[in-house]
Symmetry: C2
Subunit: 392 residues, 2 copies
């Protein structure tokens, strides 16, 4: 196990009706003038936004609003939010929504007190200072409610990049599983796939002797395997929603990923798909992950076999462990199909002729240096080959 | 799943040589005049105390020392520490040691800025204010390095009681597995047993639909099952020590126990043993837990069967699940024996003639109301019967 630091000072309020605590929590963490940042549509229609604003008013908090966040959140709205914060003297940013609203809120919070261009942070500069951020989460997926990272799509070229720093870790996050019950099955499944990716990206490690984090990651994966079909069959299943929601936070606050190298190749390879075709990140990951795993399987057959046995209940083939490793990848693919995720480029609406450009951007785009991946170092040719595996 | 809040703002520095960061971390969390609180013996002999003090000096921190903490830490030393803090104007308490040093430090930190008797907190008053606490951990066991609780033995009657409150959650904890390599096998095993207890106390729940926390608890138990024999066989196995150390923290910061009722009967029943005979808490738990489980098995056979199958690898007896449930308890008992823990009253040095008094104190002692346990409510007769199960 490697040396590490772990620091997750987010206050989580979890359960029914907890969105009513938004005002109280902002007050507790020192806010007085709030930017309420959200997408639109369902947050407004469901009355959630109104309930949150009522809570803010109840605690004497002034606020301004900025809606319009889209999936794969864009740099343009971030600039708009930063300008609004500066103009209005905002001292707290509240995201109401999913990972997109939260990531956009984090970018605004960092940019609002930074003299330079906020995009500097998305080119590798650590975020050391930001306005405090709180969240009211509406989908179990990105884990941004408990993480110190943010991913934004730069509209000047349409590519996604991530930034990080403990300053943007939310001061509080409100997790009410009821709020996720209105999500369509497809979005729910995209979220579950994203959670799975956060687990597999950590699971694919070259660090030896990491039994404790392996077991925790496996436990979270098993939770998804068991609970996901329940919510797809019955969107109103509060209990299954609750289990998935806590799994989503635990998958990404890094308590289960400490002290080990991690991969993140699937995320980097997928980001070109969602940036190019504006598909849901989870849907892109559903196509990308099995391809990355298949491409990398020989790098450490026993690691894939371990997941196959412990997570997917495959029988160990002691004569030929690779059979087990491949059976585990196939079981994962079957699971993704079962919950309604796309399986290949065609179902995603992606095109073979874009592969070269995407591989080029993934490996050499903004601030990249020719390779990606912490488990296997993948160059442009590898990435192209992985995209090609997704054609079938 | 029940509604819950979760807040674990402790900064963890984990790995080799991290004790050298003590001074820097105290500074980061606002300390200037430090009480260094420890036991004695090994902390001094190993040079750890010197290294920590060097780090404090390096960062310009003034400090006073108070050693002498014993296992099952006593109220007398707490009063002494409180007086010392007041006299010297201490603004930060650093524990160097195991759960006893940390729990004693927490009590001192709370008492140092409280006008009343610190024991009020151990009779049920929540700790809302305390001096900041930091820890340098020397044994994987109590989980106090990441928890908001403290257990102290009142010398006026020799009984143990717990207190809690987020104010005593450590600001930082330094976890260097190397520091645990010098522990004798017996103490190591006591620590592992204590960690197991923190997992089983949470696992024994009456809350339905808690798959995510079940899986996390099971994952941590599986880690102990796999890693414990390695450190008993080879005390210098850094990697196994590291896995157990992180498991010990995760077992008790409650990230894996949220949203569910918990038991804690074994702890309450054991506390009378360690208070009466001054045995190690872990050794007492090794004798207590299987007895409590056996006594409670009919309350929820399937819960015990689940642990038997998932943690202990027992075959499920679908015709008679109780066989599986009991096989799991026996497997746990075998594990405890394997790592060198006592199995009954005789091996613990406890006496049958004290049972009535211990059951009386456990159920009716200071601030108790006649019963204990969150899984099955146990009255004095039940507790007596459980102690009697430990005779064999």
């Amino acid at each position: 196990m490697d040396n590490f630091v772990f620091y997750s000072p987010t206050f989580f309020a979890f359960g029914r009706e907890t969105e009513r605590e938004a005002g109280q929590l902002i007050k507790k963490f020192g806010g007085s003038k709030v930017l309420v940042h959200y997408g639109g549509g369902s947050v407004v229609r469901s009355g959630l936004l109104e309930r949150v604003k009522t809570s803010l008013t109840e605690f004497g908090l002034a606020f301004v609003e900025l809606g319009g966040v889209k999936p794969n959140p864009r740099s343009g709205l971030v600039y708009e939010g930063i300008a609004l914060c500066k103009k209005e003297g905002v001292d707290f940013v509240l995201a109401v929504g999913g990972g997109s609203a939260i990531d956009s809120a984090k970018a605004i919070a960092a940019g609002a007190i930074y003299d330079g261009d906020f995009w500097d942070y998305y080119q590798g500069k650590r975020i050391e200072e930001a306005l405090p951020v709180g969240t009211v989460l509406t989908i179990a997926a990105a884990g941004s409610e408990g993480s110190e990272s943010s991913v934004i799509t730069n509209e000047d070229g349409m590519y996604k990049r991530g930034a990080g720093g403990s300053a943007i870790r939310p001061k509080f996050s409100i997790l009410n599983p009821e709020l996720t019950q209105t999500l369509p099955a497809y979005q729910t499944a995209c979220g579950i796939t994203d959670i799975f990716a956060h687990l597999y990206e950590r699971y694919m490690t070259n660090t030896k002797h990491v039994e404790v984090t392996d077991r925790l990651l496996e436990g979270l994966m098993q939770t998804l395997v068991q609970e996901a079909p329940k919510v797809i069959a019955d969107p109103d299943n509060y209990e299954a929603r609750a289990n998935i929601m806590w799994a989503g936070m635990m998958a990404h606050n890094n308590s289960c990923g400490v002290g080990r190298s991690q991969d993140w190749a699937s995320h980097d390879i997928e980001h070109e798909l969602s940036a190019t075709y504006d598909v849901a990140h989870g849907a892109g990951l559903a196509v990308t992950m099995p391809a990355v795993m298949t491409y990398n399987v020989d790098h450490n057959v026993m690691r894939f076999a371990q997941a196959a046995v412990r997570v997917w209940g495959c029988q160990m083939d002691f004569e030929n462990p690779k059979n087990t490793a491949l059976a585990g990848i196939q079981a994962f693919r079957n699971f993704l199909k079962l919950i309604g995720m796309p399986q290949n480029f065609a179902e995603l609406g992606a095109k073979a002729e874009d592969i070269d450009q995407m591989a080029q951007t993934a490996c050499y785009g903004d601030a990249r240096k020719g390779s990606l991946g912490g488990f296997v170092s993948l160059n442009k040719e590898d990435v192209s080959n992985i995209y090609k595996l997704m054609l079938e």
